[in-house]
Symmetry: C2
Subunit: 154 residues, 2 copies
């Protein structure tokens, strides 16, 4: 019944991720492992899925912190079931939809702003700096449709 556990080398190879990154993820609480008597890591098979999830999410621009938040919803004590992952997937879909929407808004506004010919920065909806929208704080205000900037920090 230990045959279901894999070494860090195997996980690294199958996931296409370097060992160092796996250890780093574990240190950040994104992965878990049990140890052999000698202290080496052994991963349950579902960690492979976790790694895939992590890399995929990073690819759409989410931070490890965000990802850790999502993974925290998975059960700790048992191996995640199909429906655990499905639930997670649904939330992801929402995140992706928001990001797509934000980019579409940006694209459309870019057309109307710099691209339109008005060239008036003071009237630009895309970039609304401090002296235009000081009451709402400084910096770009409309970039993400003025919604919560999902997944992007700073």
């Amino acid at each position: 019944m230990n045959e279901t556990l894999i070494s860090i080398g195997e996980l690294a190879e199958r996931a296409g991720v370097p060992h160092s990154a796996l250890r780093f993820y574990e240190a950040q609480g994104l992965l878990k492992s049990v140890r052999t008597a000698g202290g080496q890591r052994r991963y349950a098979r579902d960690m492979l899925r976790r790694v895939a999830f992590i890399r995929t999410a990073q690819n759409v621009g989410l931070s490890l912190e965000d990802i850790a938040g999502a993974l925290a919803q998975l059960p700790e004590l048992r191996t995640p079931t199909r429906s655990d992952w499905t639930r997670l997937s649904k939330r992801w879909r929402a995140v992706l939809e928001e990001r797509i929407h934000a980019l579409e808004v940006l694209r459309d506004q870019l057309d109307q702003c710099i691209g339109c010919g008005c060239l008036s920065l003071t009237a630009c909806k895309l970039y609304n700096p401090a002296d235009q929208a000081a009451a709402r704080g400084s910096g770009p205000r409309y970039l993400l449709g003025d919604t919560r900037p999902v997944g992007r920090k700073r």
Copy 2:
């Protein structure tokens, strides 16, 4: 005829960007300035637009290096005209379209992958690690529709 030039403080306030960032951008070749007899920076008005452009582009996830590349297309010797900016804007639109498309592909594949119920990582089109597509190199292969990952480094 010097009234058309603004100080770093004014640019910072109007653009909603700290002085330090403006100096940094200049050091990176993203902005330009002339100096007073005493050595202080004075910016032409069109630098305000440049700053807006920089921040906007950063917001969609482009690196300063990418942005520098785009800005390098603007004329050095004269103030950019409306059509200079329009041309730049059109290229941006293409970049945004590509990013949007990549996210849509990702969203749709997520549905079919983790979300579908097959739960088979070996069959997952989203995340295709080394042992599935070793011949094409390791790491995720289909994440951006297997196209050139526009604007993202590493």
